[in-house]
């Protein structure tokens, strides 16, 4: 039996096909204009989950980058302060060498004494260096200065901070502290300077000479702290570079999952457009013909 075709069938079929072609164009148009091929989970269920996870990792990685930057700044500020402390120790040690000479006039000695006092103030200031609103050398008690006087051996001059660690999470589950231990770094410096100051006040050249060894100890302590800071900065720099690489990789993966391949999408769109036009033309011509056209 041959198939009976009716005008209604043709009209419905044409309409359905035209609508299907339009829907295809609309999907492609949506992809091209939004630039993403996943606008809702059903577009690509696995891809949507991957996109979420990758985006989360990327955002986390960016945050770790910020943590590292902030930690690096903290460490750099510490290093700058400690560098000045080193300079102060060197200068004080020079003064100690001069004072130990023994052939100083009282005027010379009082000049040295005045400069040592200045250096003591300078180191005290340095020990109260801040990063933003935080004191760098107070442990986690960073809302207050670590030292209020330059004589840690007295109760009032003792370290006021704590031994808490200033923590930064620098990569997943890796937490590092970015502060140096203030007491082991600053106490020897204050002690050496006090020793020199006391020796100068009492005119005790033996004490002045003895302070030279103390300055060496202080220098060692500060150098150790600076070495630690430097090592941490290097570690953070390396980590930051690695994380930049990871971010590039993650962005690439995310783009692979989410972004539209424009060349492909535009080609498909053009094809869909051609098909759509053809379907319109064919339908228009088909629907106009009827037996009635030929009957008089």
């Amino acid at each position: 039996m041959t198939m009976r075709i009716t005008q209604g069938m043709m009209a419905n079929q044409s309409l359905r096909n035209i609508q299907a072609n339009q829907a295809r164009m609309q999907t492609l148009e949506d992809q091209i204009t939004s630039g993403t091929q996943i606008t809702k989970p059903s577009d690509d269920p696995i891809g949507a989950a991957q996109a979420l996870s990758l985006q989360e990792s990327l955002d986390q990685n960016t945050q770790f980058g910020r943590n590292i930057d902030q930690g690096t700044s903290w460490l750099n500020s510490s290093d700058a302060a400690l560098s000045s402390v080193t300079d102060a120790i060197h200068r004080a040690r020079e003064l100690a060498v001069q004072a130990a000479n023994g052939s100083l006039t009282p005027a010379d000695r009082s000049a040295i004494q005045a400069e040592v006092t200045q250096l003591q103030h300078h180191v005290l200031d340095l020990s109260n260096s801040k990063y933003g609103q935080y004191f760098l050398f107070s442990g986690t008690r960073s809302d207050q200065p670590g030292y209020t006087q330059y004589n840690p051996s007295t109760t009032a001059g003792a370290y006021q901070g704590n031994s808490g660690q200033v923590l930064r999470e620098i990569s997943p589950a890796v937490v590092t502290n970015v502060n140096v231990d203030p007491t082991s770094t600053f106490d020897p410096v204050f002690q050496a300077m006090n020793q020199l100051q006391t020796g100068l006040t009492s005119g005790d050249s033996a004490a002045v000479s003895a302070s030279l060894a103390s300055f060496d100890t202080a220098l060692d302590a500060v150098s150790l702290a600076r070495a630690q800071v430097g090592a941490r900065v290097n570690r953070l720099d390396a980590l930051k570079q690695r994380q930049d690489g990871v971010s590039v990789n993650l962005s690439g993966l995310l783009s692979n999952v989410k972004d539209v391949d424009m060349a492909k999408a535009i080609t498909s769109f053009t094809t869909a457009q051609t098909v759509y036009q053809a379907s319109l033309k064919a339908s228009a011509q088909m629907m106009q013909i009827s037996l009635l056209d030929y009957l008089k």
Partner: protein, 584 residues
């Protein structure tokens, strides 16, 4: 020998028959675009010949035909296609409803996007990282509170939207049930008319078309079985219950006493629940009770996990006032989630617990805290990447049929479980190893007890509850005989919440499941559309009106009519000759 009037009779009958056929074609053309209309055709037969054959025939050369008549008007209809069509419409109704609900859910969750829940979670935990970087900075703390509020709002809004959707679906269930009744009433009315017409010996083609159309519409709402009775009525059944009984109907209503509309048959006291297995009504109920509910449950589970883990860490830390024990979030699930009102109140930024009570630096003793300490903030930020925790508890007297739960095993926190129900362990003897069955929230997992030895030489029996996340380990001293029934002994029960590890993974899995379900529903719905289209074509092949065909027929009838009229004028001429010219 026939008279000229006999010829006129034949011609008259022909004119009448051709006229009827033209009317039928006219009716077909008029209804070419009417939904449900079936092409009609006349059954044309010769009228009884004359004379009636008898044994001896005199004066006649033989039987003479007496003309033509239209004896019946039929509609072209394939009832098998109707039957198939209704089955497919039912399935389409169900998938369309599910697909529509899922599309709406996808719009609600709005993922992947920069403003979805996933992004809000990331922002919240990043804000904790920023607090860790600047623990005493009130601007940073204020930002954390805002991100916390946004996270809670996103959870709340999502669940509110989904609940609203559930309510809409529930309303639609009620409306669909009343549509079913409307259609049933229309079928009953048509049944009455059809049986009146057809017992009178005619065919009620147009009424039948209307009834078939309504049966199609009804079948997309519920799965029906229709049986035609001898007098032309159609009896309709939904499941085993009659919906239309000739010219009477049984009412399908809804009972909202359980909180949601449940279809019931109203013709019994008390009303009996209606079994709805397919169609739009079933699709709507499935969407309401399962599709949307699954998403609500998922969001609630995720929210309670975030609330629980954030609060337990937050309460362990101290604010800038040195006080610990404050929760960050209030509420227990996505619906009730919010940020602790103390924290959102003016000055609340200082209550954020970024620091911890730590041992004081000697010579000071005891515990102290410092504003620059961010150890708790770091721990809170790490929740984002934290795998679901495993709770472990020692139990004594572990025995067959043991029921585990927050109340039965101290220290074992089963609150991560979505069903939050106790887990039951049942040990059954078997060779070579006994079997343990774990049951939780309707899911049962079987495991075989495996017996091994630990480094210390103790015998260890383990049973792993797999996807339930529960694991039982019993350690017995070397030499202890382990019998098949597992006599009560001491052991360790651990519970790891099932599912993906981090909160982000948990959410991503929910989104993926939503996507799979939605794309499946969409393609099933599209497939049904293809099947329905195919059947529509098949039906149109039989029942559809072809204008070319009708025009062709019309011309045929026109010619036959013209010829019959010509016969009349020929006979008229004959009579004229006979009457006016013969006797003169």
């Amino acid at each position: 020998m026939s008279s000229p009037f006999f010829s006129l009779d034949i011609a008259t009958r022909s004119l009448r028959a051709q006229q009827t056929l033209v009317d039928i074609a006219n009716q077909n053309i008029a209804n070419a675009n009417t939904p449900g209309f079936s092409r009609q055709s006349g059954v044309v037969t010769e009228t009884m010949p004359y004379p009636i054959p008898v044994f001896r025939q005199s004066g006649a050369p033989g039987q003479l035909g007496t003309g033509v008549q239209v004896t019946e008007i039929n509609r072209a209809r394939d009832t098998f296609v109707d039957y198939q069509m209704r089955g497919q419409l039912t399935a389409q109704g169900s998938w369309d409803a599910r697909s529509a609900a899922l599309t709406q859910i996808e719009a609600v969750v709005n993922e992947p996007s920069a403003t979805g829940l996933s992004a809000q979670m990331t922002k919240y935990f990043s804000a904790w990282q920023e607090v860790a970087n600047s623990p005493a900075d009130s601007a940073v703390r204020a930002n954390l509170i805002e991100t916390g509020k946004n996270l809670a709002d996103t959870f709340q809004n999502s669940v509110q939207d989904l609940t609203k959707q559930q309510q809409d679906l529930d309303k639609q269930v009620g409306l669909t049930a009343s549509s079913v009744n409307d259609y049933a009433q229309q079928i009953a009315n048509l049944n009455k008319q059809i049986s009146v017409v057809e017992t009178g010996g005619m065919k009620a083609n147009d009424l039948r078309d209307q009834r078939d159309l309504i049966l199609d519409k009804l079948s997309s709402l519920v799965k029906i079985t229709s049986v035609e009775s001898s007098e032309g009525s159609v009896n309709v059944y939904v499941g085993n219950h009659q919906l239309v009984d000739r010219d009477r109907t049984h009412t399908l209503g809804v009972d909202g006493s359980s909180g949601t509309n449940q279809p019931v048959w109203m013709d019994t006291t008390p009303n009996t629940p209606a079994t709805i297995t397919d169609g739009k009504l079933q699709g709507l109920m499935y969407a309401r009770d399962t599709v949307v509910q699954t998403r609500i449950d998922g969001l609630n589970a995720l929210a309670s996990r975030v609330i629980e883990s954030v609060n337990s860490v937050h309460a362990a830390g101290v604010g800038l006032d040195g006080v610990s024990g404050r929760p960050f979030f209030t509420g227990t699930n996505a619906t009730t989630m919010g940020v602790n009102a103390q924290i959102t109140a003016p000055g609340g930024t200082s209550l954020i617990a970024a620091a911890r009570m730590l041992p004081a630096t000697p010579p000071a003793t005891g515990y102290t805290w410092a504003s620059g300490d961010s150890s708790n903030a770091v721990a809170l930020a790490q929740i984002q990447a934290a795998v679901a925790q495993r709770d472990t508890s020692q139990v004594t007297g572990l025995q067959p049929g043991q029921s585990f739960g927050p109340s039965t095993v101290a220290g074992l926190d089963l609150s991560h479980s979505a069903a939050n129900s106790n887990i039951t362990m049942n040990v059954t003897a078997g060779a070579p190893n006994p079997t343990v069955t774990f049951t939780s929230g309707g899911t049962t997992v079987s495991a075989t007890l495996s017996v091994g030895t630990d480094p210390a030489g103790n015998q260890v029996i383990t049973a792993d509850g797999g996807s339930l996340g529960i694991r039982v380990t019993v350690t017995a001293a070397a030499g202890t005989t382990l019998n098949a029934a597992l006599t009560p002994m001491n052991g360790q029960v651990s519970y790891t919440p099932a599912g993906p590890s981090t909160p982000g993974d948990q959410y991503a899995q929910q989104i993926s499941a939503l996507g799979v379900e939605s794309s499946t529903a969409m393609s099933r719905s599209a497939n049904q559309q293809v099947l329905v289209n195919q059947l529509t074509n098949q039906r149109a092949q039989t029942s559809g009106v072809s204008l070319d065909e009708e025009t062709t027929n019309l011309i045929q009838y026109q010619h036959a009519y013209q010829a019959a009229a010509r016969v009349i004028s020929v006979v008229d001429g004959m009579l004229d000759t006979l009457i006016n010219h013969t006797l003169l």
